[in-house]
Structures are given as structure tokens and as C-alpha cells.
Symmetry: C2
Subunit: 159 residues, 2 copies
Amino acid sequence: MSSKTPKAGAKSAEQQEKTLDLSALQRTPGFMLRLAQLKFFEGFYEEFAALGLTPATYAIFAVIRDNPGVPPSSLASLLRLRLPNLIKILNELESSGFIKRNRSKADRRAVELMLTPKGAKLIAEGARLTEPYNRKMLAPLSEAEQRTLLDLLNRMLPL
Amino acid sequence: MSSKTPKAGAKSAEQQEKTLDLSALQRTPGFMLRLAQLKFFEGFYEEFAALGLTPATYAIFAVIRDNPGVPPSSLASLLRLRLPNLIKILNELESSGFIKRNRSKADRRAVELMLTPKGAKLIAEGARLTEPYNRKMLAPLSEAEQRTLLDLLNRMLPL
DNA sequence: TATTGTTATACTCTATAACTATA
DNA sequence: TATAGTTATAGAGTATAACAATA
């Protein structure tokens, strides 16, 4: 009937994360994917902070770079952003001089997005950080496993 | 120098997602992980809507079920939630009668979380939906590949 | 009338600061 | 003084509604 022994059966408050049963979450792909994404995003902000790039702007720059003239609507559906939310980002990128909007001559409702030289330089600098950043995030896996993971993700998703 | 032919070199506005170069994003694990997580979360809301479970509450229930008496602070750091944000959810779950808070006798600052019978019933019903839901989300992969993906995610993350 | 882009706005999720009570 | 929990609040991300210009 002793009470103040902080060692014996004191499971409740002293229950540390080490001793918790997490097996259910470990078997839950959705939860593990969330953790993985958090890790990648936190790491991204550290690695690319100096350039002022975010995961969203990095993806936007990359798609415009590889597809000059891409319209905002395609960009939004591709990146899984709602058009109004993308527009807000595009406004900032344009007023900062990283991208340029051209009205399409064929359909004057449509907008064609392009990188300015300043924007092209920024994404080029970002691209140089990409490989070491990915390696760091995936460090616990062998190179073959890293390729397998990326391959499985690509096959899982209809892109 | 022709102009109005909407077929020939009309890459800009007619550029559909089918013809876009997405290879850069496909080689970016962080982006693919984001897409995967979005897919799992959207699917979750569809599948578990009838039970009123969200990814967050599902995880909370599962951890309390497997670790009765777990304190909010451990739960928060485990699920990567800030304590104040978790507290708000716990308040709703308690006032809805799904969980119960006990003050620890050993340390009266500490709180021990438990499921009520009503909460235990809810997570038990949710658990029955879990396997078919995961199978659906991972359908493009073989069972061996599904196991590989989960294994790689677990090895990537320090849980 | 339908589509593209845009603005305005609401809502959810997440982050920070400060307070209470115990230790 | 430090810690666990809580409250209040601010910020970022994401959602819907409505409008202008063009088709």
C-alpha cells in the first residue's frame, strides 16, 4: 500500500513515449504519410529559408520553368491548390518580379505564366539545394530503397 | 508568320495537364508525399464521415485505447500536435462523452486520459473500416508493395 | 450561357503568449 | 523556480461565393 515510490507501478503520469504502444499508428499508412510530410516540410523550410522558397513556391517555379506559358488553372489543379489561393501567391511572385503574366492572344481570358530572369535564377539556385536536401531527409534509407519509395509513391498516384 | 491557327504551335493556352512536363515534381519525394497524404485524408473523410471521425480524432482514440492513462502532453508530442490545439479537441471529445479525464493521484497536475465505453465503441467501429479503407487507398500497389511502402515509411521516421 | 481569372471572405488548422494549479 | 494543463488569441492554409472580361 506504499504510495510515494515513483518507480514501481507508476505507469500513468510517468508513462513516457518510449513505453507507449504505438503499433496501431505505425500500421496506419495515412498517419505515417503525415509524419513523413511534416518531416519533409520542416526540413524544407530550414534548407531553403535563405532563398525565401516554400514548398508551394518551389513547385510553382518548377512547373512554370518546365512549362512556360502554363495557365493558372492548370497549375492550380496540378498542385492541388484552389485557384483563388494560387492567385494570391502569383500576385506576390509577380510583384516581387519573379514571374510575369501574359494575356494569351488566342483567348484573351487566358493567362500565360512565365519566369522572369530573376525567377529563373532563383529556381536554379533552389534546384542546386534539392539533391542534398532529399538525401538528408531520406538518409535512413539506402539509395535503392529511396528509389523504391519514390517509385511506389508515383505508382500510387494518378499524376 | 501565321497567327490564328489554334492547332499548330498553340502550346500556351491549350496546354493541358496531359501534355505538361511534371517530371521535376515526380522526382520530388516531398511533393509526392504531400499528394499521397491529401489522397489519404480525402479518402478518410469519405469513409469515416458516418462515424464523425477525423484523421486526428482517430489517432487520438487509438493511442488512448492502447495506452489508457496517457497524459495530454505525451499524446500531443506523439501526434505532432501543439498541446493547446490538442486540448481543444479533448474538450470536445470529453463533452461529447467519448473520453474521460482523471487527475493523477501521484501528481495532481497530471491528467490521465481514458476512453468511455461510448468512446471505446466508436473506435472499435472505426477500426473495422480501417482495413478496407487502407486497401482502397493503396489499391494500385500489390500487397507486397503495400507492405514495403509502410516498412520504408517506418524506417524513415524516428517513432 | 460557359469559362478564365480575380477579389473578397469565411473557416479550419496551427502557432504563440499568458494564466492556473500543483510540484 | 519549473512543469502540466488550460485559455485566449493570432496567424497560415484552405474553402466557398460572387464578379469582370471574354468566349
